[in-house]
Symmetry: C2
Subunit: 432 residues, 2 copies
Amino acid sequence: MNGNLDVLKDTGIEVRNGTIKRYIKRNEVIPEGEKVFNFPDYILLPGFIQTHVHLCQTLFRGLAEDLPLLDWLSKRIFPYENNHNRKSLEISAKIGLCELQKTGTTAIMDMGTMRHQEVIFEEMIKSGMRGFAGKCMIDTNGLYPSFCEPYEDSLKTSIEFAKAYHNSNNGRIKYAFAPRFVLSCSEKLLKETYSALSDFEGSLFHSHSSENKQEVEEVRRITGKENIEYFNSIGVLGERTVFAHCIHLNDNEIELIRSKKAKIAHCPSSNLKLGSGVADIPGYLNKGINVSLGADGAPCNNNLSCLNEMRLASLIQKPKYGSAAMSAQEVIKMATINAAEALGIANETGSIEPGKKADLLLMDLNGINNPLNDVDIYSSIVYSADVTNIKEVMIEGEWVISNGESVIYNEQELVSEGKEELKKLIERKNTR
Amino acid sequence: MNGNLDVLKDTGIEVRNGTIKRYIKRNEVIPEGEKVFNFPDYILLPGFIQTHVHLCQTLFRGLAEDLPLLDWLSKRIFPYENNHNRKSLEISAKIGLCELQKTGTTAIMDMGTMRHQEVIFEEMIKSGMRGFAGKCMIDTNGLYPSFCEPYEDSLKTSIEFAKAYHNSNNGRIKYAFAPRFVLSCSEKLLKETYSALSDFEGSLFHSHSSENKQEVEEVRRITGKENIEYFNSIGVLGERTVFAHCIHLNDNEIELIRSKKAKIAHCPSSNLKLGSGVADIPGYLNKGINVSLGADGAPCNNNLSCLNEMRLASLIQKPKYGSAAMSAQEVIKMATINAAEALGIANETGSIEPGKKADLLLMDLNGINNPLNDVDIYSSIVYSADVTNIKEVMIEGEWVISNGESVIYNEQELVSEGKEELKKLIERKNTR
């Protein structure tokens, strides 16, 4: 697939120093001494980019079932996150990164947790993953008061992390300030966080908004406004703002997002599983709003595969908008170039174009679960593909998945260490 | 899991002559000479049962995208089915059966096609699959007139197939008469088909109903009634009737299905992908109606995995009914014991109980995509599992999947033969 997602046959690319140099044809003579990887029956596409994930939550998969958002947070997720130590956070990040890469994701925007954020950055760097992360900012927490810190500490440590990690790993890692959501952030925190963006070129403001009706009511009770109207009224809505969810928006909020060029990270599995609702994505796209995809956290999904999110993002809109709505090609765009644009990194990733980084995905769509001709590659990817079709994944010219297996991690070791650390974390939580 | 889907730890089963004899404990001494399969970390559950699939359509995966039901049928599926020969139908069935078994399905109810139905039966028998199939009956076809046959032929050949195959393969195969839907069947055909049930004990009446709003309108225009009211008025609604879809039902139709004990096969992927709608399954279950699951055909899904259908069946109801609706355990029931009851074969399959056939599934839920503790096995299966977690599948005491690979089929050969036959079928279609 080229930069417009057109399918080019019998074509490959030259990669040098992690960068895509040019397209090459199948019959081109390659000079001796060059490394050649030949996958004649595979589809080469840009790696998937997910604009909203929570690596810190991977350890809690399956431990927060059948709850709506606010209970899910107060009864499970906040108490679990509150008991992370460096070791449990490290393995949580590793398992998440491994699953993300194995399912074809080469860049993410992560919402971190309140403590030990350096662990997330270090693990992202070790994994080779491209993307944004940021310490989760919480300075008021009516849902779970003990998971909270003073406003000054939250801001100060966030800025320290931005100084330490923004543009680290040779520019592959960037900082996204991460005030969790209106209900856990003072107005002062939100405003000063937004101001801090100007000191870090290319950094982002990453939060949750309008996910759940109870949350929206509570925001209205506290601020007298809807989420997006409130964000706008305090001046934190702009083109560097990315909000996860945005299910329950009124017309004015949609217009505010459009006119201020804020971005929406759509999380269809999570939105269904927590019973939050179905966001009107075709409506948003129709207005020209940038919408990208995210698996959210493992405990509200319960996978991190972009394939699941693409399939669902397409399927759930069709009963309302008709069977032609949200075409396969459109959701692939959401998972690649739209996401790169949302993150402000479309100059370096999100499509296969000379000059961009070699963040690539090779899929073998010749399984018994795939179509038997290649009349519609997009449909093969979105509607029929599963993890077994994802064979090779490269980030900036380095293989992270080879023949479906992680090059970086030993999966069995991750799982057994994860079990161990989860057991200890639950003990810490129960003995507090 | 035992017959109530309770999770028993450190437990196995004794299987003899294809039948489950009794539970055994991990520490039990096994007499020498007995074959022992030891999977200490796997979950043993009943094989999945899908009550609505179309093996004949597997070849057409990816060839009928972004269309609503009636266009999907008239422009793509009927023309394709109409050009099946024995060979193309054989490979279509094989690929479908292989995918179904690989994803844990041990019994199906298949809607066949108009010609060469013997091929479907022979392939089901060779694969070891349990279940029902039947020649598709079409004696009027306004959507695609050339895919149609006289009423007498349709009924006569159906009865011949029932005589030949009902209770074949030692009772593993049964006949389900398969009038396609109201728009393709005369009243006479529907009535006489239903009468034929009495000659074949345990046979079923399998059709589609109330899938799409246009279809419902057209049925109303032709019969003056809603689908289920029409079926009832001509006397073909009863406990041996299984309808796929049932999305657009009025209160009276729901009450008719309940009181007549007809069964509903819910196909969530297909219903979303064709833009048909979201069936009110919690409402139906609440009234005591039996609801089971089906992947429908490959061109409207585009997979045949019961894992996808279970996850979606749960997720799509939660925005309306709340995050606790359609629990993981409930959808596993729909995919196992409810389905066996719908098909009238709960005495022999659908749960792990002494005396039932050994139709079994072993899942390894220790992947990086699964929860790290076993606090909720149901959630692991429904929300996090994918095909890589399905390791061993047995039907009536014989392995059909071993370590994730088909024992019956060479997958690569299936795919290359499928490509070949699809190419020829498309040529036949285009040169007609």
